[in-house]
């Protein structure tokens, strides 16, 4: 009895902490102060994660390439982000002479602000959601789409060909994959019956025996998760879809002309987008804050949420350590000829799943359709084109 109340308290620790802190204020101010504290917590915690992730990413990537990674600053190099932060803060802030100064200044701010707004609707634990909107998913995607604006602002205002090319690539890529991202989330909405992210988590928070009813453990959910992961990687400009900032071609893409802390803000925005999209993927397909096995239910819900997000981040880093960058035409072909038709088919399969009723039949039918489609479309749609030798009419 004592232990259950302890774990309940641990599950609610952030609420208890907030109520204790707010208790010092007059009653009239308490609701506003509570919301403010929630905002401060999000704004403080995720950049902290960002700092940790940069050092773990560099060390992990190093190990994947049989290198050591950073190990100079502090024990095992764990203070590397501190050194990087000081460096970014003390660097000169260079603004190109012919740039559009106001837009150039606003672009990193818009990026970080919109990305932070996405966190507002993510349920990070039982009842731990800053703004429990009825259309939280819609709000999240609206904020995700707004980051594209900031990328084009950066690319256009810099008055630099690399920035502009990077921004154009970024826009083309992000809009193409935005479609896929939305459509893969739609199948969850079809089954869950709600756009509210907390309701979607609730729908997955039940167990058959010890196994959870996460959407990833259904054929359509698994296919949807794979497609979602691909689209999320492209949305956050992570390798292998990091064309907008391909160092070998475009210097640094849309943030070529940013230095010092503005560059750090872009970097922060990129990682925060990665966290938020991982959080969304966790919420939609991996059961959000619910425990993976029913008897682990006593562990605080926020630990599960952050654990799942960290796992997704690790997969992001793992993919970055494995895959080379795509070419622009490969990227577009993949989006429009393979991923998008497959996602549309997945919507159909989701509807089948819904109307075939309980039983083994829907498992067999849905899995067969998806596997066959994946194999067939992969073979036909992604067939390599063999061009013959080039012939030149005039330049011979």
């Amino acid at each position: 009895m004592v232990s259950t109340s302890f774990f309940t308290a641990l599950d609610r620790i952030f609420f208890l902490l907030r109520d204790w802190l707010v208790g010092f204020l007059p009653v009239a101010l308490r609701p506003a102060a509570g919301v403010l504290l929630g905002v401060i917590a999000i704004v403080a915690v995720f950049p902290g994660f960002f700092a940790l992730t940069t050092v773990f990413e560099r060390k992990g990537l190093g190990r994947m390439q049989n290198r050591l990674g950073p190990n100079r600053v502090g024990p095992f190099g764990f203070f590397q982000p501190v050194a990087d932060g000081i460096k970014a803060l003390t660097k000169e802030d260079v603004v190109p002479y012919r740039s559009d100064r106001i837009v150039h200044f606003l672009a990193p701010l818009v990026l970080v602000v919109t990305v932070f707004l996405g966190f507002a609707v993510l349920p990070m634990g039982r009842n731990m959601v800053l703004a429990d909107m009825d259309a939280g998913l819609l709000f999240f995607f609206a904020m995700g789409a707004a980051t594209e604006l900031s990328i084009f602002m950066a690319g256009w205002s810099s008055h630099n060909k690399y920035s502009l090319l990077g921004a154009m690539r970024g826009i083309a890529q992000m809009i193409s994959y935005e479609v896929v991202l939305l459509l893969s989330a739609v199948s969850v909405v079809m089954i869950g019956g709600s756009l509210s992210l907390s309701k979607i988590v609730e729908a997955q928070n039940s167990y058959s025996g010890v196994f959870p009813h996460w959407y990833i453990f259904t054929p359509w959910g698994f296919a949807g998760f794979v497609v979602f992961a691909i689209a999320a990687t492209a949305e956050t400009n992570r390798s292998p879809f990091d064309l907008p900032e391909g160092e070998s071609e475009l210097v640094a893409g849309y943030h070529t002309e940013y230095s010092g802390f503005k560059f750090a803000l872009f970097f922060l925005g990129e990682y925060l987008a990665m966290f938020s999209i991982s959080g969304l993927g966790t919420t939609l397909f991996l059961g959000g804050w619910s425990a993976p096995l029913s008897f682990f239910d006593f562990v605080p819900s926020w630990i599960w949420f952050f654990g799942k997000v960290m796992l997704s981040i690790f997969v992001f880093i793992w993919m970055r350590g494995t895959l080379p960058r795509l070419r622009q035409d490969q990227l577009m072909n993949f989006a429009w000829k393979f991923v998008l038709p497959f996602t549309l088919l997945n919507l159909f399969v989701t509807a089948l799943w819904r109307f075939l009723g309980e039983g083994w039949l829907r498992w067999a039918v849905c899995s067969a359709i998806l596997v066959a489609a994946w194999a067939l479309m992969g073979r036909v749609g992604m067939r390599r084109k063999h061009f013959g030798p080039r012939s030149y009419r005039y330049a011979e």
């Binding site: 190990r63 994947m64 993919m319 895959l323 194999a375």
Partner: protein
């Protein structure tokens, strides 16, 4: 099926990731300032002067012939010849450099000085970390800094140094044999010149 290659690749990187914590052979990184890879035998950075024996001033092989100074393409060597002479390794009196400067900021490591030296007195060092905070004097190396013992030469270029030692020993033996022969001839001559005098008396 689409994606097989990606899974294979990810298995490979996962193997690297965990393997690098288990087997030391995977990590080929040498953490430079603390650890160093020994320089290859044929490595060369900048020239140094070889001396024999314990005292660098007495044992310096350089006889101040100034061939290297004249041959040096970027003209980074400055030699001042001595007025007096000191015995070299075979005992023959030779000049020696009272001043031998190499400006390493000018030197281009071409090794021509080494190739032209008839006395095996100048050789290439393998020490490359010579950064200094003194912009003008820091890389102007004088005799004291340039002089390195023959043992050091053996330690950095063992094969080459053994060849040089063999050649020098051979030359020394030749000179000694010649001196001996000359001494014998002189003795014989003395004996011959002594006997007629004896006969004359």
């Amino acid at each position: 099926m689409l994606g097989e290659g990606i899974l294979k690749g990810m298995a490979e990187t996962a193997k690297n990731f965990f393997g690098s914590y288990v087997s030391k052979e995977r990590l080929t990184t040498v953490e430079y300032p603390e650890e160093r890879v020994p320089a290859a035998e044929n490595a060369r950075a900048f020239p140094f002067l070889v001396y024999d024996g314990p005292d660098w001033q007495a044992g310096l092989r350089c006889v101040s012939c100034q061939i290297c100074e004249k041959e040096c393409p970027p003209k980074c060597i400055l030699i001042e010849k001595s007025k007096d002479k000191k015995p070299d390794y075979v005992g023959k009196p030779q000049f020696y450099p009272v001043r031998f400067d190499i400006d390493l900021s000018v030197c281009m490591s071409c090794q021509i000085c080494v190739e032209v030296c008839p006395f095996d007195a100048i050789k290439m060092n393998t020490e490359f970390a010579l950064a200094t905070d003194d912009r003008f004097g820091g890389l102007l190396f004088s005799r004291e800094k340039l002089a390195k013992s023959n043992e050091y030469y053996h330690s950095i270029h063992p094969t080459e140094a053994a060849e040089v030692d063999a050649r020098l020993a051979e030359e020394k033996a030749k000179v000694e044999a010649k001196a001996k022969a000359a001494a014998e001839a002189a003795a014989a001559k003395a004996a011959v010149s002594a006997s007629p005098a004896e006969g004359g008396n």
